[in-house]
Amino acid sequence: MTGTFGLLRFLLRRERLGLPWWLLGATLLVLIQSTQSQSLYGTPQALARLRDTIGANTAVIAMSGPTELLSALGGEIVFEIFAYVAIVVALMNMFLVGRHTRADEESGRAELIRSARVGRHAPLVAALALAGLADVAVGALVFAVSAGTGLPLAGSVLFGAAVTGLGWVFATLTAVAVQVFENTRAAYGAVALVLGAAYVFRAIGDVGDGAVSWASPIGWGQRTLPYADDRWWPLLLPLLTAALLGAAAVGLLAHRDFGAGLVPPRPGRATASRWLRDPYALAWRLQRGTLIGWTAGLVLLGVAYGSLGDSMEQYVRENPQIADFLPGGADDVVNSYLAVTAGMAALLASAFGVASLLRVRGEESSGRAERVLAMPVSRLTWLAAQLSVPVLGSAVMLIAFGLGEGVAYGMTVSDAGQVPRLIGVTLTYLPAVWLVIAVAALAIGWVPQPAAIVAWVVIAYCVVVTMFAESFDLPDWAQWPSPFTHIPRVPLADFAVSPLLVTVLVAAVGVAAGYAGLRRRDVGT
């Protein structure tokens, strides 16, 4: 344990730029939900109406939490936001612990640290302490925001404590995973799997009699029932689990060699398969897992949104305030809703596209781009190969979302025709996605160093314009630069082909200009 404290200070320094964003994200989720719910359901009548609508809607319960929470306004906020906060906090803990344990071991940084006067357990304990402190900070912020927006004190403390407890579970779970697997990717995969299972278990339990929810760390947090019933004893579950997992991680660490895992890596292929023969195949091979994950996620999201489609009309009739958030108002609720969800899918596909294309920069800075470009491969081919994944992958993602939404919505309204219709609807937004990707390509060509920042700022801007233009009353000029502004908002608006063609054309020009930049600059800077 020697050196733990010094290491912890070092870790805090390494995280000083990244960690605040995670804390901010979790805090904003609660802040937005709290203000929004208080304005929508501030009266007992509004809350009672909501209880009647949602209490009978399986899809909403499966996506959110147990209906017992709906007996108080604060509980309604926890009901809506807890699962999302849980995902953010769980991922934060996964990255915090993974980055400073297994990832450091893989890169060899940990070797340098361990060769100094630092105990065997110090890096693990320091990483856990870092995550534990971050969780306390998140809990404190959740409390501050909840209490600060006028919610009862006791419930707010419980809400914050539940979030902290959940964070500790995932921090210690990650600590175990990084002992078991010898590479960070596999460890993250295992933790993400547990997180997914936690979400699914609580969904099954909340829809049923609640028993299965007790198998889920997210369920433990929600079932403290902050504001609704203020139960303190379920907090013991995460505390106990975290203690056990933490002890297990420390114990396992003593039983493995530095750099090794408990599960030995499987040997892979000795020769490449027939199709792995050019930069295109390489790009798709490298992003295969990411593509499958995103596509599966968008199918599920489509199913979730689609299953709510039919009940939207009733929901808005009973809670007319909601209509302000829909671009079509109360007149055409279902189509407004479908347009909004398709827009969200398109934003997610844009985020995928940008993340995928920005791998170009990672390839460059790591020197792997050099490996390919030293072959008889032109920069045009190389860029085209890297572009093929986001360009085609984003289309696949939109189809996946449309398919999921179409199947789920089609089943609730007994109309198989919704499947092709909603795939068509979602694909209408594809040109805007491509234009966002083209902007990233342009940045990579001409301003490679800040390209990632440029691209993510563009995404953030599009999110604000697409999701909040109505709520914030953004002026037209502020909305104009977003490609999503120019896409007809089907199925609410009529389909028109010319804006789509223009958008595709602008995207093509952007990519061509990006290539012109890439062609004349140094590679690998």
């Binding site: 892979g268 023969r277 490996r371």
Partner: protein, 308 residues
């Protein structure tokens, strides 16, 4: 010897800056077809930058660069069909096995000789089924070496290719380069390992701070350095200190030890002969000495270097 047009690599007054840093400051390099050319220089002297210019990854600021009769920047793809490259710090795609990388690179190069590939894997003792993230530095290096040596490229650009290899593998590598030389292929070998350069290279260029300070055959370069002499004579060795090119003379009775500029060696031996030489050992200058003279700022300030 070789005119710029028929040289495999011909670089004249190459300049490349990165912002305020000058990486290459008028570098010259000539590599004749079929020769193994040693490319020496301390860390940060511009070896890697030069190779990356030759690969068309970096655009030169000034100077002329020709390789295999083409322009490395403009004709990159056509030239890359005829060359292969091994970097000093090999990074691979973590989720792909070494065998897959070798095949992929081979196919991108236009096909791979399966038998040669397997032979090399065995010689370098490399397990191709391991994911790249689990390879050590030396093993990643071997992946790149096998991929490069299995190709039939006429020019090999090797940037400190043996930095992570153990002595056994170093020997395998030297054998492979020796075979390539027999086949008449051209190799530009950047290296720190002077024994390797002495064993393999026909000619050597030494660069420092982005500029070429020496270039020539090992013999020619040795000529510019000093030979250490230890001699025992019948008559006390007198008058040696008066000879040009003699340094660090130490005389005791009939023994003398000194260094002599190799160019003046003949005159010194003629002066010693009449004294009745009983025994004499002469240590030829090593590349290392040459290297240290050019790099060690302090040393080279003290002793004037001939040439350059």
């Amino acid at each position: 010897m070789t005119t710029p047009t028929d040289a495999a690599i011909s670089i004249t007054a190459l300049r490349k800056t990165f912002g305020a840093t000058t990486a290459l400051d008028g570098l010259d390099l000539r590599v004749a077809p079929g020769e193994v050319h040693g490319f020496l220089g301390p860390n940060g002297s511009g070896k890697t930058t030069t190779i990356r210019v030759l690969l068309g990854l970096l655009r030169p600021d000034a100077g002329e660069v020709r390789m295999l009769g083409g322009d490395p920047w403009r004709d990159a793809v056509a030239l890359h069909r005829r060359l292969t490259y091994v970097p000093g710090d090999v990074t691979l795609w973590p989720g792909i096995t070494g065998g897959e990388v070798i095949d992929l690179l081979g196919r991108m190069h236009g096909g791979i000789d399966r038998r040669r590939r397997d032979e090399l894997l065995e010689q370098f003792d490399l397990d191709p089924r391991k994911k790249a993230r689990t390879y050590s530095k030396g093993n990643r290096q071997k992946v790149a070496l096998v991929a490069a040596l299995a190709s039939d490229a006429e020019l090999l650009l090797l940037d400190e290719p043996t930095a992570g290899l153990d002595p056994l593998m170093e020997a395998v590598f030297q054998r492979c380069i020796h075979d390539l030389k027999q086949q008449g292929r051209t190799v530009l070998l950047s290296s720190h390992i002077l024994a390797e350069v002495e064993a393999l290279c026909d000619r050597v260029s030494i660069i420092r701070l982005g500029r070429t300070v020496e270039s020539g055959t090992l013999g020619e370069l040795r000529h510019l350095t000093r030979t250490s002499i230890a001699v025992e004579t019948a008559e006390p060795p007198q008058g040696i200190d008066a000879l040009p090119g003699v340094h660090d003379l130490f005389v005791e009775d009939h023994h003398a030890r000194f260094d002599v500029d190799t160019a003046e060696l003949d005159a010194v031996v003629r002066r010693l002969a009449p004294l009745g030489v009983r025994s004499m050992t002469s240590t030829p200058p090593t590349l290392e000495e040459l290297f240290l003279r050019h790099y060690g700022d302090e040393q080279s300030n003290g002793r004037k270097v001939v040439g350059s």
